[in-house]
Amino acid sequence: MMHSLIQLSIIVLLLPLLSFVLLIFFNRRLPRNGDFLAVGILGATFAISAWIFWDVIVIGYDPSFKLAWSFNWIDFGDVPGVGPLQIKMGIMIDNLTAIMLAMVSLISFLVHVYSTGYMSGDKYYGRYFAYLGIFTFSMLGIVLSDNLFSIYIFWELVGLSSYLLIGFFFEKDSAADAQKKAFLTNRVGDIGMWLGILILYSQFHTFGFEEIYEHIKAGDFHMSQAWLTAAGILLFMGCVGKSAQFPLHVWLPDAMEGPTPVSALIHAATMVAAGVYFVARIFVILTVDALHVIAFIGAITAFMAATIAITQHDIKRVLAYSTVSQLGYMVLGLGVGAYSAALFHLLTHAFFKACLFLGSGAIIHAMHHEQDMRWMGGLSKKMPWTFVTFTIATLALAGLPLTSGFMSKDAILAGALGFAEVEGGGIYYLIPILGFFSAMLTAFYMGRQIWLVFFGESRTHLKPADEHHGHDDHGHHEVHEVPWAMRMPLVVLAALSVFAVFSPDPLDGAKGWFMHLVQTPETVVAADVQHENLNNAHHDASVAQGENKGASAETAAVEHVSDAVHGAEQENVHASVAAAGHSVVEEHAAPHATDDHGDEHHGPVFNDPRQAAIAHAAHENHDPAIMYSSIVVALGIGLALIVYVFGFINPEKTAQRIRPLYLYSFNKWYWDEIYDATVIKGSLLISKLLAWFDNNIVDGIVNGVGALVRKFGTASGGFDQYVVDGMVNFTAFFVQTSGAAMKKLQTGKVQTYLVMALVAVTGYIVYYFVQVM
């Protein structure tokens, strides 16, 4: 009998699928194309997952909560050399899962509601909700999976649904291109992920996360450690594709061809975050090298996307690049070991970015599908609701204090600083630096956006005629606020972007429930394989533990009821180590230690020296991080004000002045052009070549032969049509020519025949004589 939560989660998983099935087959027959059905089902989905959330998070407030259930999916029987072999499918619920469940189903539900307004009157209205259904299904599948195989399955399925939704307006060629691009780019990433899965499977003959962790912990990984690192990086490639990390980020901006609510749901809040979620799932098997790669990829992505976002005109593209940039943050966070921070950012970002996209959708809706910010402006008065919610979300994104975004981003940056410290500085400081710089840019371009969209005068009339595409007849209609169906989600999401939701302390997310419940897991990669330039980290940790040996005893003795030990016991970690960790934390977190309830004690406790070191370094760098980030954010916003509000600097002129840089950013670093010139053109060329090869070489060993055969063929009365090409060609050619030669012997003169026969006879006799003699 499986646990009730499991049953609930299965129901949660299947409900959206039901919605898909119903709508894809019956949408034409249902009233309103059955949108009420979809919304209702999603409402139920959200309700149940909220229940799970309540049960897991609020009732049982337990960091080590974990629940798993699985069944035999494929039974290979008794495999020679391996023994009985089954492939299991299953469900695993822990805190992260519960939170993700709630988040995904909530946003999905909101988007459904929103779409009833936004998509109303579309030709394929019903089909749209069906697609949303299958997307929600596969996304929930990713969240609930307990093994690599099923996660890969759902991974591809979200790919499919994103493909379908991006190309929802498939009659637009741009949309069709975008969907193909998205799918293929993701496939490239998936290849890597698949290879990574293969590496792990080939060692352990299982796909389950837990089993794999166990095996690695037990040191059953028999290939060289390089393979383990490779496995980590390859698995990460899946995330690179799905979460649009450099160098596979190119598809996400184009994905904005899809309906805006879709952009909000898939390409901002949930699917793109799946990559991060996946890396978090496999976090424990990542070797140090793999983590470094991840960190740098994240940093580069964050920075690059931010620089591009500055110069974009399309309101959705700006948001898209900011999404890429934020995802870069999360990946960076995981790379530097700020596990819970990264996931925290995932959550917060999901809300405010969804809010931003829905807001932009509202704007576009109101502006009659005008997406270019240059022709907007002055909307604050016309659409107050949108304005307010949009602004709150923007502040969260820019990372101003009192917002959720501030806490999470700050935590990540702190982790980055600590990481750089532990790794011994040098190149590693690049990561936090890029992080902070991108933070500034983020503040800048968001300020720019807010200003261009909401303030100043309406610039609709400035739009040059030639840029009017399709909707110019509505071009100058009156702009007014969107209907409630679209307003409500904005409000909810904006509300969820406030710090109070996550943590009592606006400055420190670590005090919040999230950071408590989602804690960095202990790595399973044996310490001896850990990276070598950690001597200082080792030292650090050992010192920390050394000087607390004594303290630990008495700490344990004195405050044995303290949460730390409590937590430690829950984690089944040896008390002294726990105390050591705790005191490490306490010592270096002196400033906050004065707090009456010791949330900061809940920093996880590590055997692995590196993780321990990073953890406490991160904690140490918490305040500096706050400081720096506030500064850079202030700088960014200030710059935005200077440029756009006070107009001290004219953007156009500046752009002219630094034209190459401007163009470089405006053209997205030319990635599309590069890929098109190399990968796409290349493979098409190869395919042409091979096809030619197939037709002319393989299929007719040498063209010349074929031609010759045809010549002979025509001579022999259309024989060529039966003489086939390829090797047969060659044979036929050979056979024919020999035949042509031989048939000449048949002269028709009987005496010649006799001569030949006699020659044969005498010839053989002579040959025989020669032999005998």
Binding site: S738, G739, A740, K743, Q746, V750, Y753, M756, V761, F769
Partner: protein, 511 residues
């Protein structure tokens, strides 16, 4: 210098002759038939060709009964060992009579013969004569007898080939056949004379015993056997003694062509087996050739040459008869493979192959006759679009050709199977021969498929009626042959047992 035999000896001779006559009934019967036909021809005049044909048909069928009688008395040497009645001979008696019957049937359904102005006088007479000759070829064990029987066959064949006097092709064919045949038999007789000189014997079994006992000069023996081989090779039409066959086959009336390509070829093989197995020494173990048995190597060369040449040149043929002529050269090569193995299985395979060849080749020629009757042409081009219009003929032709290629489920496939089994049963010695056979049979697919391809895949240029009626008799025969080809392709036990029954010469004194 020679004194006359005494009365006792003469008495003895007479008794032997009397006793021998009892074993000679089928031949006698056939000779009677021969005479009866001549008389009928003289009495009723040549215009009554139905009468003649039916008479000869019944007569030939009747002869089967007499042959059946001989099963009881196998293994007899008669006429002072000039002639023998053994399973091998009986097999071929059946074979030749059967082919004679089929030839008569073909002739009955062939318009080019029946429309002949001066009637069909002595045509069937000659056919029966040929049958007699071939039957004797298969049973004779004395050089003289061999010579006589062969000449009997040849002379009849010359006339039959040239039977359509007014046709250029026919005349030309007969002339070439005559000249070539005469010279080959001349060669053979010369070879016989040398062999006689070596041994002083004309009975082949005594020749062999003398050779073994007294020893011999291998070179001389070799020359003799090569010359004899030339003579027999011309009968079986293997490269390089085949040159006459395409022209003759093309020129002769189709039934005669069929008869020559199956029966006289088979007679040649019968002679080949009997003579070379018995008379001249052969390598006891393959590979190691005892002196004087290098003709085995020669046989290999001949068979490979025939398979390649026949199949390759056939690719170029546009006339069905000529195409089948080349194909029959190739098949001669395949049959030789069976003989080369020089053992029981090989002989069995050879005989089986001959049987299968009987069915499929006569079938193919029969369809050729039917179509020639309708279109008056033997060119492949003129077969276009006939498959749909003559469903039976088309289907049958396809089956026969598939069988000639050697694909299951036809009797031709089993023939090839047994030949190759015989080769491979010797281990890896003969694998190369098998490979040649296999590959050439792939080549043969090209040209055999030309005919169905034209019949089915192409539409005829000139307008044809939607269905073409053909006579009942030819249809019946075609259907029977087709069914037999298929049936024996699936249940070939009877045929193969028959063949196995026939491998025993002189009560199995060989091997």
């Amino acid at each position: 210098m020679y004194e006359l035999p005494s009365g006792a000896e003469i008495q003895n001779i007479v008794t032997v002759l009397k006793s021998s006559a009892a074993y000679y009934i089928p031949e006698i019967y056939l000779s009677v038939l021969f005479l009866v036909l001549i008389l009928a021809d003289l009495i009723f005049g040549p215009k009554k060709h139905h009468l003649l044909s039916v008479t000869s048909l019944i007569g030939l069928v009747g002869s089967l009964w007499f042959i059946w009688q001989q099963h009881a008395i196998v293994g007899q040497e008669i006429f002072f060992g000039m002639y023998v009645v053994d399973e091998f001979a009986i097999f071929f008696k059946y074979f030749f009579v059967l082919s004679g019957i089929l030839t008569v049937l073909l002739s009955m359904s062939s318009d080019e013969l029946n429309s002949r102005v001066s009637g069909l006088g002595e045509y069937y007479v000659l056919v029966v004569g040929m049958v007699i000759g071939m039957v004797m070829m298969a049973s004779s064990t004395d050089l003289v007898m061999i010579l006589v029987s062969m000449e009997l066959v040849s002379l009849a064949a010359y006339v039959l080939t040239g039977y359509l006097k007014r046709e250029k092709r026919s005349t030309e064919a007969s002339l070439k056949y005559l000249v070539y045949g005469a010279v080959s038999s001349g060669l053979m007789i010369y070879g016989f004379s040398i062999l006689y000189g070596l041994t002083g014997e004309t009975n082949i079994s005594e020749i062999s015993s003398v050779l073994l006992s007294r020893g011999y000069d291998p070179v001389t023996l070799m020359i003799a056997s090569i010359m004899i081989l030339a003579g027999i090779g011309y009968k079986v039409g293997v490269v390089p003694f085949h040159f006459w066959s395409p022209d003759v086959y093309e020129g002769a009336p189709i039934p005669v062509t069929a008869f020559l390509s199956v029966a006289s070829k088979a007679a040649g093989f019968a002679l080949l087996i009997r003579f070379f197995y018995v008379a001249v020494p052969h390598g006891a173990e393959t590979g190691a050739l005892t002196p004087g048995s290098e003709w085995l190597l020669l046989l290999m060369i001949l068979s490979v040459a025939s398979m390649i040449y026949g199949n390759v040149v056939a690719l170029w043929q546009k006339n069905v008869k000529r195409l089948l002529a080349y194909s029959s050269i190739a098949h001669g090569g395949y049959i030789l493979l069976g003989i080369i193995v020089m053992d029981e299985l090989g002989t069995q395979a050879t005989l089986f192959y001959l049987l299968s060849y009987l069915f499929m080749n006569f079938g193919a020629f029969l369809v050729a006759v039917i179509i020639a009757n309708k279109t008056g042409s033997e060119n492949i081009e003129d077969y276009r679009g006939l498959g749909r219009r003559m469903p039976l003929a088309g289907a049958a032709m396809t089956v026969f050709l598939i069988s000639l290629v050697g694909l299951p489920p036809t009797v031709g496939f089993i023939g090839k199977l047994m030949i190759f089994s015989a080769l491979l049963a010797k281990g890896s010695v003969f694998v190369w021969l098998a490979l040649v056979g296999i590959l050439t049979s792939v080549i043969s697919l090209y040209y055999y498929m030309l005919i169905p391809l034209n019949m089915y895949l192409r539409e005829s240029k000139q307008l044809l009626p939607d269905t073409i009626k053909t006579g009942f008799l030819p249809q019946l025969v075609t259907a029977c042959l087709m069914l037999l080809t298929l049936y024996f392709g699936i249940f070939f036990t009877p045929l193969s047992d028959f063949a196995h029954f026939a491998v025993t010469l002189f009560g199995n004194q060989l091997y």
